[in-house]
Amino acid sequence: MTTKDAIGRAVASLVLAGAALLGSGVAQAETRAGTPIVNTAGLRYQADGETRALESNTVTLLVAERLDVRLLREGDGPVGLAADTAAIPFVLTNATNGSESFAVTATLVAGGIAPLLAIDSDGDGRYDPAHDIAVADGATPVLAPGATLRLFALVAAGTVADSLVVTARAATGSGRAGSAFDGRGDGGGDAVVGPTGAAATVTVPLRTGAADPVLIKTQSVTGADGARRGGIITYTLEARFPGSARAAVIADLIPAGTRFVPGSLRFDDAVLTDAADADPGGFDGRGIAVALGDVAAASTHVVQFKTQIQ
């Protein structure tokens, strides 16, 4: 190889590297299990008055599959058991750098009929027996790296107050961090247990009687660049009332570093003015508040507002 060839190739790889940097600026993904890491060094020197170039040997490492899982309950506090089946939502995240299925279980601490686990097929956070199918053979479908799966634990009506325990374990294996499973990783490499132990457990206290309302706050940022100065964040506050409630109010402070966007307050798809007037909500300079008044059982209300990042 001549020096000129080497330069030409260096320029070609430079263009590729630049493109990769732009692409990775949006989401820095972990290297997938099974990816070969290939390294070759180059050498240039002067001998007999001419420049010579050569390459080193090429060494290759296969990236192992690091098994990790996260399991979070949506909402907090005890869940009240009423006359109907209680569907308690969870979010399972495949924190592995490869594709993985997870064994999931739901049990009651005091024994009794084990709650069923169902997959929230449409991801709307509401249990719908017509669409949301039971987990088959105690395992989730195979999830892509970083993918999440919403699950419901279905606690049967008439269950005595107790605690619900939901667990998730990587199907390839779990246990002490660093435990290895030779050849069991994606792409023919090894699998190794990550810092989470590739297992997660969430315990939910249950009690009889109507459940407390649950407020779920989500946010979305406009533009593909993520949170930047001038970006608009839309906050959605979803209040779920399993039982009826009196004089309910949804209130939220505007987060530091952001400014409320005037006229952006909405309540169940109706636009509310910012002023304290006849409509049920407003913005007082520090936060928003919407008075729901008396709320019927098994109802859901949504408040939305926007802020701009300063």
Partner: protein, 168 residues
Amino acid sequence: MTLRILLAVVMAAIPLVTGPLAARPAGQAARAGGPLEITSSMMVERRSAAADGTTRVTLVKPTRVSPGDRIIFVLAYHNVGTQPLSDVVLANPLPRAIAYRSASPGSPAPEVSVDGKTYGALAALRMPALDGSTRAAGADDVTHVRWRIATPLAAGAQGQFAFQAVLK
């Protein structure tokens, strides 16, 4: 003192000299054939407790690496010819999944580059930003490292450079 021990361990752990090069097909051997040889290795640190209570760090070939693991890249060179060689430059374009961190203890710091063209100290390099301006480059931006050996490399001379990186 510590540095010298570390280097000695590295030398023992890496097959130096001709093995991989000699195994090349004839065409490549002719191209690579010359008085200077280079061997590249990817290693990981293994820590073990020594009898005197200190922690000993050795470099070993990795059995498995996963994102976040530290990898030590070692470049070993050897002038197997009979003449001194001048203007020796060892360069390592980084694999895409590798993020540069620093020179290894005991190794001279490499010159680094964020574009494969301009080399220098990391603090002196800048990156283009999306809005057309530039910003200071960071270790994550490094795409190439290289070492230039200032004085002619005598016949029989050998040595090695090493840098630390992280698997993204």
